[in-house]
Amino acid sequence: MAKKNISGMSDVKIKIKDRDGVVHEVDAPTDMNMNLMEIVRSYELAPEGTIGICGGMAMCASCQCYIESDHQLPGMSDDEDAMLAEAFHVKDNSRLGCQIHITEDLEGLEVELAPES
């Protein structure tokens, strides 16, 4: 059962495999207007300066991740799509973490961080 936070909204549990292959299960708040890249940074699962370089504008691909669970995520914006077209290590399940907003639908999401490039 997802834990309720102070504003009555649920945190969701997300499994994140870091770049060394270690899996972390973290609580991600749904009421803080956060995205997946910011969750990774807040738990320091990738060194500062190697993720979220552009700040979350879909302009650098440093937060690329692979979606490993079968969650239905909102579609990509043109910006995200174009950025991934220029990124490296891209797979069919690649997304930019900064474009994935944390909502209650993401309970149980499993992602893997793409290698640094």
Binding site: E48, I53, M57, M59, C60, A82, E86, F88, S117
Partner: protein, 352 residues
């Protein structure tokens, strides 16, 4: 050798504003930046993005902020070494620092302020087997001198503005220009996309999409590339070329600064929040490049840090001088170019 009072490494908004604060104290500045233009990330990554948290600007485009800062510091005549990366630092016998760039340009100053943001921008290199062996032997990540490509066969890879703009430019220089991109769609200014379309229609640019360069061939130097064109059935094309120019954007790396003996934590330089000095006296770190308890990577915080850094730098250069901070509304701004800005004097006149 370039001599100055404060040598600033990094010409982003924080480094630029430091020139202003130093100028109020009659200290001269020189800036080094690895990029060919001032502005740092604001110019390189997001010039067209609006920023909403610059005090006094409800909304300002990052590019306009840089232009405004350049205007604000013009009277203090800062020097610039652009397109060069600060490589080494050496403390001289007189206590000043000697900073040398990757191109050998030497700079000497009693104070060094590192305003390097996330580091210097390095090209992102595609993951192609043996690409390193062909660097400077047919593979280039920057176009420094377009004349190198005159009457040569050039292949550019990438889908952004620089790939589009260089394809357009080289269409008139090279004997053959091929543009390869993983998608049919390009992400760039509309007129660049349209120009490439018309050059393609004229047969001046070969467009191969959706496709990717997957291999390099040649002994001693690049002679051909292998292109994988995706479609219903993938097709492998071997194309003879003289130059391959992958343009996949830039990514910042802390780089040589990490080896300067400064205390580093989380890819940033540790400073004392009293004056943003590092563990080496006389070397300061301001803006996104530094870290301290409670650090926020915001432009407005960089401005504050630059201001306090300049006061401390002044004390280091002139330990015996007494000084109190003066408001610009009181003291005005006296440029090194002889210009003087000050509040207009109130009129004292009787009213009949």
């Amino acid at each position: 050798m370039i001599k100055t009072d404060i040598l600033i490494i990094g010409a982003g908004p924080t480094g630029l504003f430091a020139v202003f604060e130093a100028g109020l104290l009659q200290l001269k500045c020189h800036l080094i930046d690895a990029l060919p233009q001032a502005g740092g990330q604001c110019s390189e990554i997001y010039p067209k993005k609006p920023i909403y948290d610059i005090p006094g600007f409800p909304e300002v485009l990052a590019g306009d902020l840089v232009n405004n800062l350049m205007e604000q510091i013009k009277a203090f005549q800062p020097g610039f070494t652009l397109g060069e990366r600060a490589n080494t630092i050496e403390k001289l016998e007189d206590g000043t620092f000697l900073v040398t760039t990757n191109k050998g340009t030497r700079h000497n100053a009693p104070i060094v302020a590192i305003a390097g943001g996330l580091g210097s921008f390095e090209p992102r290199k595609p993951l192609i087997d043996r690409i390193k062996d062909y660097e400077d032997k047919g593979v280039a990540y920057f176009i420094k001198d377009p004349e190198v490509y005159r009457n040569k066969k050039v292949l550019i890879a990438g889908g952004g503005d620089s790939a589009l703009d260089w394809s357009i430019f080289l269409a008139d220089v090279a004997s053959e220009v091929t543009l390869v991109h993983r998608r049919n769609e390009f992400r760039g200014a509309l007129d660049s996309v349209e120009k490439v379309q018309s050059l393609k229609n004229l047969g001046k640019i070969n467009l191969i999409t959706p496709a990717e360069v997957v291999g390099l061939k040649g002994s001693g130097k690049l002679e051909a590339v292998v292109i994988n064109k995706t479609g219903d059935e993938d097709e492998e094309i071997t194309k003879e070329i003289d130059y391959f120019i992958p343009l996949f954007g830039l990514s910042p790396k802390l780089g040589p600064i990490a080896d300067w003996g400064l205390e580093i934590e989380k890819n940033a330089i540790k400073v004392d929040t009293f004056d943003y000095q590092t563990n080496i006296p006389g070397i300061y770190a301001i803006g996104d490049v530094n870290t301290y308890p409670g650090k926020l990577k915001l432009i407005l915080c960089g401005f504050h840090e630059a201001t306090l850094m300049c006061q401390s730098a002044y004390q280091r250069i002139f330990p015996d001088k007494k000084y109190v901070m003066k408001y610009t509304t009181v003291g005005g701004v006296s440029g090194f170019d002889g210009s003087k800005k000050e509040a207009p004097k109130a009129v004292v006149k009787s009213i009949d």
